[in-house]
Amino acid sequence: MQITLNGQLQNIENSQTVADLLEELQIAHKKTVVERNGTIVIEEFHQQEGLMDGDRIEIIHFVGGG
């Protein structure tokens, strides 16, 4: 399926849910803020929040460096 991730069109192969997507992007171990179609999806719902073709997803992950 095709989604818009952080403003860029992307083909997502193996992800059905937000949790899958974080895994696919290799940031599942990081603290993140995720928004799906304009609404924040809190961490507790990452497993059950399904993805659909055409979704607009924003993901920001925290890092420590400076």
Binding site: G7, Q8, I40, I60, F62, G65, G66
Partner: protein, 339 residues
């Protein structure tokens, strides 16, 4: 130096003007960390005419810093100059009448308390644990602070304002602190510059009271993959947050500083701290370990012990290179410094 000329272009800018410039020149900003973000942000603020800058850093300049930490030179790396001191020297070259206070040491609650009052704290740290302490300090004093961090080509920033939206603890609820890992993917200077530019712009808006122009979002970008994101996070504000909620306890202010031995991210080194009641004298240590002494200045000395390097600071901390881990670092510290 004619200050009217000096800041004329900034005054001409509609968002600042005479009044805004005056406010900048009356402001006290605390910059925590003088690494890549901190040195760059400090320079821009000093050039912009900020009234007083307090710069806190626990590290010294090394060759691998020079690719992105733009206040520092080969001479600083050669001399192992503490970053805060090297920064101050360069900043005074840039603006000789700037008021710059430096602290060579580790930011902890007591140290920050001594820097108050201030109008704003800007984050140029390398770890989340200390950021949560900055978060609580700023909220307790009811002043804003600006989070910023970067790695690789990626960076992000968020402005925390007391009483206006969530704080960092709200956003990071349940972060596994002990699980904080070092990123080993390197970093490019433009990522640092992006984050610093954002932090400085938000600082200018706060200090000139241009509050309606503040970004108001959690913001990130990747300069290599060209992705960027901006998320309104107001819904993440937690009214029971122990830092910004209705009855705050500021848990991070009970914190007595980083642990006794700590692997420094991206530095291939371990920092060891002295026991609380331990006295460390640079002169005495230099004397006792003459045969290992490689460098010394007023803030630190460098011992070369076999293929390891031990950098001892006046406050008793040591940064040790070439050890296999925290246990070896601690034992080397005990053997050569004491405790």
């Amino acid at each position: 130096m004619n200050t009217e000329e000096r800041f004329s272009r900034q005054r001409l800018f509609h968002g600042i003007g005479w009044e805004g410039q005056e406010r900048l020149q009356e402001a006290h900003v605390i910059m925590v960390g003088a690494g890549a973000l901190g040195s760059l942000t400090a320079e821009t603020l000093v050039r912009a005419g900020v009234g007083k800058l307090t710069l806190i850093d626990r590290d010294y300049v090394e060759e691998s810093n020079l690719q992105r930490q733009q206040l520092y030179t080969e001479a600083d790396a050669e001399a192992c100059t503490p970053k805060a001191e090297a920064a101050k020297k360069r900043l005074l070259d840039i603006r000789s009448d700037a008021s710059i206070e430096i602290i060579v040491g580790e930011a902890d609650p007591a140290l920050l308390e001594n820097c108050m009052p201030a109008d704003l704290i800007i984050d140029g740290l390398d770890n989340m644990e200390t950021r949560l302490m900055i978060n609580d300090t700023a909220l307790k004093h009811q002043i804003p602070w600006i989070y910023g961090a970067c790695v690789g080509a990626y960076g992000l920033s968020y402005t925390v304002r007391p009483g206006q939206g969530p704080c960092l603890r709200c956003l990071m609820k349940g972060i596994p602190m002990e699980g904080e890992t070092c990123d080993t993917v390197g970093i490019i200077a433009p990522a640092v510059q992006f984050v610093s530019a954002t932090q400085v712009t938000e600082a200018m808006k706060l200090l000139t009271h241009s509050f309606e122009q503040l970004r108001g979002t959690l913001w990130s970008f990747d300069v290599w993959s060209n992705e960027s994101s901006s998320i309104y996070v107001d819904s993440l504000q937690d009214k029971d947050c122990p830092s910004c909620g209705e009855s705050p306890a500021y848990p991070a202010l009970a914190w007595s500083g980083r642990s006794k031995a700590e692997t420094l991210c991206g530095r291939d080194a371990v920092q060891v701290k002295p026991l609380p009641d331990m006295q460390v004298s640079l002169e005495q240590t230099a004397d006792v370990h003459k045969q290992h002494l490689s460098k010394a200045n007023q803030h630190l000395l460098v011992l070369n012990i076999e293929n390891k390097r031990l950098v001892l600071f006046k406050d008793g901390r040591a940064i040790i290179h070439g050890v296999s881990g925290e246990v070896e670092a601690r034992s080397l510290y005990q053997r050569y410094i004491g405790g």
